[in-house]
Amino acid sequence: MHVESFWEYSTRILPYLLDGIKWTLALTAASGVCGTLLGLLLALARIARNNLVRSIATGYVVLFRGTPLLLQILVIYNGLPELGLTLPKFPSAVIALSMNAGAYIAEIIRAAIQSIDKGQMEAARSLGMGYGQAMRRIILPQTFRRLLPPMVNEMAAMTKDTSLAMVVGITELMKASQHQQASSFRVFETYAWTALGYLIVTLTLNTIATRYERKLEARG
């Protein structure tokens, strides 16, 4: 029997791994956007003066940061149908990833907001701005630079977490690699390419962020 060389094997499997990366990227992008928006709202709720709002947000963060993402995915995909809500696999994975990331991002944003000197808010309010306006125009813009490094961390972590989406049958990069490895029994070579795939995604994220950070610095 002809045994494929490393390069023969690689060129045969790479197209399938690339198909997998497309799903990994789609999951990361969708969950990144949804998770960030959710995180922003949660962060504002976490520092709200209303007790109820604050405790709802705190409870949310405790729940989603304190339980495994794998459990959250399975509850949304396999548990909700028992309550009458059957979601397809991609939305299930995106919801779980966003809700999980939202909890972490909320804390990142809250910390950034609270790190801005209180005098900024007081000054804005004394100029006649409302709370929302002051937040939007004075406080939040100042948090961007402090937000960037931990947000890149979070996005890199999420990119890798998308591999859990395979449990609901999404053939993302990790699952695609397992398919190839399962029929070839060439585990090491296959996973070496997989690792490179994830590295390319996270390094790209990192490069974009670094560039953006420099731009913000230049502007002051």
Binding site: L38, R49, V53, N78, P81, G84, L87, Y131
Partner: protein
């Protein structure tokens, strides 16, 4: 102050709506009564769940789901006049997915067992025996040869149950039973030297023994042929009847034999 907190509540509500909108989530409507066959015909496609870690029954080759079950399902689809669409699902979640109406049927070499019959109905389409696949140098012919060995099985399968029973009642000194999510993981475990013998459906054992003869040998039969069926929700009686008829027709007109010979060089279970 009050105003801003109310605003935040609205924000939170908006967030949940947004999250749902972001993912384009739509709850699927439950199928009414037993319009099961009409439902499939109207959709023009039969959604079939398969666990693709099971060559040559169902597996992924060059990015496509192929296998005996896949070919046969396509033939059933032709008889029903619908397209067949396959969904790759992990074995441990395959039944709950059927109950959640994520697909119409499961056609994934599933043995018909009493326990499963409590949950779903089956249309039998094959019989398969289970064999011992030993690593090179071992010769497990029957249960008693299992003493001191590490047995590897796919989790929640009839082979898994069988191994647990043998260990409990007959061969108590089986060293360990290791179960894996996918059948392919079970073979990898033995290839890597951490397991001694796999108990699995004969066609799957034959596939690996042929693919990697240096590692795997079929050394004996563990279980006599057992019925394998297409799992269908109990309320989908009309669909079940149509599939039952299609399987009978395929067996009568020689298509079944043709598909079987293409994959196994003989008729399955004979």
């Amino acid at each position: 102050m009050k105003k801003s907190s109310r605003l935040l509540l609205v924000f939170l509500l908006a967030a949940s709506v947004l999250l749902t909108a972001c993912s384009g989530a739509k709850p699927t409507a439950p199928a009414a009564g037993d319009g099961s066959l009409d439902r499939v015909k109207q959709a023009g496609k039969l959604l079939v769940a398969v666990d693709t870690t099971y060559p040559p029954m169902e597996y992924v080759e060059n990015g496509k789901i192929v296998g005996f079950d896949v070919d046969l399902a396509n033939e059933i689809g032709k008889k029903l006049g619908v397209q067949v669409q396959f969904e790759s699902v992990d074995w441990d979640g395959i039944l709950s997915g059927l109950m959640a109406k994520r697909y119409d049927v499961i056609m994934s070499s599933m043995n018909i067992t009493e326990e499963r019959l409590k949950q779903v109905d089956f249309v039998e389409y094959a019989k398969m025996s289970q064999v011992f696949v030993s690593k090179k140098g071992l010769d497990v012919k029957s249960e008693k040869d299992l003493s001191g060995k590490v047995i590897v099985v796919q989790a929640d399968t009839t082979s898994h149950e069988w191994a647990e029973e043998v260990k409990k009642d007959k061969v108590k000194d089986i060293k360990e039973i290791r179960s894996f999510k996918g059948a392919t993981d079970a073979f990898l475990e033995v290839k890597n030297g951490r397991g001694d013998v796999i108990v699995i459906d004969e066609p799957v054992g034959l596939y690996y023994a042929k693919k990697d003869a240096a590692t795997f040998t079929i050394t004996g039969r563990a279980m006599d042929p057992e019925a394998v069926g297409i799992a269908i929700r109990k309320e989908d009686a009309a669909l079940k009847a149509a599939i039952e008829k299609a399987v009978k027709d395929l067996q009568a007109d020689g298509t079944y034999k043709k598909v079987s010979e293409a994959w196994f060089g003989k008729e399955l279970g004979k």
